[in-house]
Symmetry: C2
Subunit: 384 residues, 2 copies
C-alpha cells in the first residue's frame, strides 16, 4: 500500500511536470515555470493529490543535487575562476544590499530588531537551482553572465551560511561568536580549494581506471558516487550539498570522458530534476496570496518583494567586467527559491517570526522565484 | 542529518555493489552475485554499515521495477506468446512439485499440516529478477529458454498469488473461498490481456505524439510513467508490480522508438537495479547459516534446499518443445529470492511458523538464490 502510494505519487508528479512544462514551453515560457506551477496545482495548496512524503522529498533532494552536478559538468572551471573576483563582488553586494534594505524596511515599520534581522537574512538568499536550470534550458550556461551568476551563487551560499549562523546565534544565545564564524567560513573555503585541487589531480587517473571496468554501468555509478560523496563532504563542513555536487561536476568536466558522463546523467536528471521543482511548487499555499484574507500581510509582502527584487537587481550593477551583461546577472540573483524557504523556516522555528509574517515572507520568496524564469528568458530573447 | 544518512548510504551501496560486481565478473561469475554478497557484507548481518531505510527500500523497489521494464523492452512478445503453452506447463509443474515435495517432507517429519502447507507454498516461489538479470547480463534474453523461463515466471506469479490467498485464508479463517480464488485469477488474466491488447493499440500513436514534444526528457519520463502506471494497475489487481512493468516493456518493445527508450532507461537501471540486489543481500543474517548455533535447524534447511532445487529442476523436464534446452529452464526457476521471502514472512506473521523454522526457510531461499547465477552462467559457458 505504501509502495502503491509512492508509485501513484511519482506518476502524478511526472505527468503534471511534463504536461505543464510542455505547455509553458509552447507559449514561450520555460519548462521550469511549468513544473513549479504543476507543483502548486497538485500539492496540498490546491488539489491535494500528492503530499511530499519522505521518499518524494528524498528524490527531490537527489534531483537538485544531480541538477547542480549536471550544471557543473556543462560549466568551465577556468572561466568560472576568471570570473571569480567579479562573482565575489556581485555576491557581496547581492547579500549586503538585500540584508540592509530588508532590515531597514522592517525596522522602519516598527518591527523588533531581531525580527528585522531575520527578514533581512532571508532576502539575501539566492536559489542557484532556478537560474541554473533556466540558463541550461536556454543553452546559455557558457555565457559570461552565467559564469558570474553561478560563481556568485556559490559565494552567496558561503556568505548565507555565515549569516544564518550569526542570526540563529543571536536568536538562541543572544550573542555572536566571531571565532565560530571565522571557523565556518575558512572550512568552506578550504573545502572548495581541496575538492577542486585534489579532484583535478585524481580525476583523470580515476576515469581511465573506470574505463577499464567490465561491469555494466560503471561510468554512471562511479560519477554519481563522486558527486554524492562530495555533497556529503560539503554537508559535513556545513555547506549546502549542492555546492559539493557542483564542484564534482566541475572536476569531471575537465576529464576526457566528460561527454560520456553528461550523456548518461541526462536521463537520470530528466527523471529527478522535475521532482525537485514540483516539490518546491508544492510548498506554496495560493491562499497566502489572497489580499482579502484575515491577517493578510499583503502590503508588507508586496513592499518586501519590491525590496527583494530591486536589491538583487542592484547587485548586477556591481558588474565591472567588459562583455558581461548586467541585467542577466541581476535577474539571475532574484529567485530566492528553496534557500529562502530554509532561512524563513529557521526564523519561524526560532520563534522570532509569527506565522502571519512567515506567510508574507513565503509570498515574497514565491513571487521572486516565479518571476525569474520568464524574465531571464525575455532578456535572452530580446537582447542577443 | 537525515539527508546525509541517505546520501552516505547510497554511496556505500553503490560502491559495494560495483566493487563486488566487478570482482565477481573478473573471476568468471556474474555481477549480480557480487551485488547480493555486497549486501550481505554491508548489511546488518555483518558490518552493519547501511540499514534498509524507507528511502533505500523505495529505491530498491523502483530498481526491480525498472529491471523488469528493461527485460520487457529486450524481450519479444511474439516469441513469448509462442512459448506460452510451454511456459504455462513449466510453471504448473514448477509450482505443483515444490509444493507437494515441501509439504510432504514437513508432514513426514511430524510438523503440523498447516505449517507444512506454508513451507510448501514458500518453495513454489520463483524470483524472476535474479534469472532475468543473469540472462540479461549474459546477453541471452532472446534465447528460447529465456522466453520459457520469463513466461513461466509470469504464470508462476499468478499461481503463487492464488496459493498465497489459499494458504493465508486457511491460516486466518480456517477455510478456503473458491469464489475468491477464481475472482483473483480471472482478474490477473484479464489485466494481462487488456494491458497488452490496449497497450499495443495505443503505444505507436502515443510514441509518435511524444516524439513531437519539445520539453527535454519527454521520452524517458513518459516511458517510465507508462511502466509505473501499469505497475500500479497490477498492484491494484493483486498482481506483483513487476508484472505490470514487464508488460509495459513488452508493449514499448513493439514501437519504433524501442532502442531510444532502452538507451535512456539504461543509466537509470544502472543506478537503481544494484540497489535492489544489495537490499536482497542485506536481509541475510550469515549467523543463520551457522550449523552449531543453538536452535540451528541446519538439517531441515539442507533437506529443504535439496527439495527446493530438485523440484524446480524437475520443472525443466516439462519442456517438450524442440530446441529449448531443459537445464537453463530448470535452473532459471531455482532462485526464490524476494518472492520467497514474502511468502515466508506471511507465514511468520500469521503465527504459523516459528522464528527458528523461519530462519531455516530463509537459509533455503538464500542458498537457492545464490546458487542460481553461477549455475546459469556455467550452463551457458559449457553448453553452447
Amino acid at each position: 500500500m505504501e509502495l502503491r502510494e509512492l508509485l501513484l505519487g511519482l506518476v502524478l508528479v511526472w505527468l503534471a511536470a511534463k504536461v505543464a512544462g510542455e505547455t509553458l514551453e509552447r507559449i514561450g515560457q520555460t519548462a521550469v515555470l511549468g513544473e513549479l506551477l504543476a507543483g502548486v496545482l497538485i500539492g496540498p495548496g490546491v488539489l491535494g493529490l500528492v503530499r511530499e512524503s519522505e521518499v518524494i522529498h528524498a528524490l527531490a533532494e537527489l534531483g537538485v543535487l544531480i541538477l547542480l552536478f549536471e550544471v557543473g559538468l556543462e560549466s568551465d572551471l577556468d572561466e568560472l575562476l576568471q570570473a571569480g573576483l567579479q562573482a565575489t563582488l556581485v555576491a557581496v553586494v547581492g547579500v549586503a544590499l538585500p540584508f540592509t534594505a530588508g532590515f531597514g524596511v522592517m525596522y522602519w515599520l516598527g518591527y523588533p530588531p531581531l525580527l528585522a534581522v531575520f527578514v533581512g537574512a532571508t532576502l539575501t538568499a539566492t536559489s542557484v537551482g532556478i537560474t541554473a536550470r533556466v540558463l541550461g534550458d536556454l543553452g546559455r550556461l557558457q555565457d559570461s553572465a552565467a559564469n558570474v551568476v553561478l560563481g556568485a551563487a556559490v559565494v552567496d551560499d558561503i556568505l548565507g551560511l555565515m549569516i544564518l549562523a550569526v542570526v540563529t546565534g543571536i536568536a538562541v544565545t543572544g550573542s555572536v561568536s566571531l571565532g565560530g564564524i571565522a571557523l565556518l567560513s575558512s572550512k568552506a573555503v578550504i573545502f572548495l580549494v581541496v575538492a577542486l585541487v585534489v579532484g583535478l589531480r585524481l580525476a583523470p587517473t580515476l576515469m581511465r581506471w573506470i574505463g577499464r571496468f567490465r561491469a555494466r554501468g560503471s561510468l554512471v555509478v562511479y560519477s554519481l558516487v563522486f558527486a554524492v560523496a562530495l555533497a556529503v563532504l560539503a554537508d559535513v563542513i556545513g555547506l549546502a550539498t549542492i555546492i559539493g555536487a557542483f564542484a564534482a561536476g566541475l572536476v569531471l568536466a575537465t576529464t576526457e570522458r566528460r561527454s560520456h558522463v553528461e550523456e548518461r546523467i541526462k536521463p537520470v536528471a530528466d527523471l529527478l530534476v522535475p521532482v525537485f521543482f514540483v516539490t518546491v511548487g508544492m510548498k506554496v499555499q495560493p491562499a497566502m496570496l489572497n489580499p482579502f484574507a484575515e491577517n493578510a500581510q499583503f502590503g508588507i509582502a508586496l513592499l518586501l518583494t519590491a525590496v527583494a527584487v530591486a536589491s538583487k537587481l542592484a547587485a548586477g550593477l556591481a558588474v565591472y567586467k567588459q562583455g558581461v551583461r548586467r541585467w542577466p546577472v541581476g535577474v539571475g540573483m532574484v529567485p530566492r527559491g528553496e534557500v529562502g524557504l530554509i532561512f524563513a523556516g529557521a526564523g519561524l522555528s526560532a520563534g522570532v517570526m509569527s506565522q502571519d509574517l512567515y506567510s508574507a515572507i513565503v509570498v515574497v520568496i514565491m513571487l521572486t522565484t516565479f518571476a525569474a524564469p520568464p524574465w531571464l528568458k525575455a532578456l535572452y530573447r530580446h537582447e542577443r
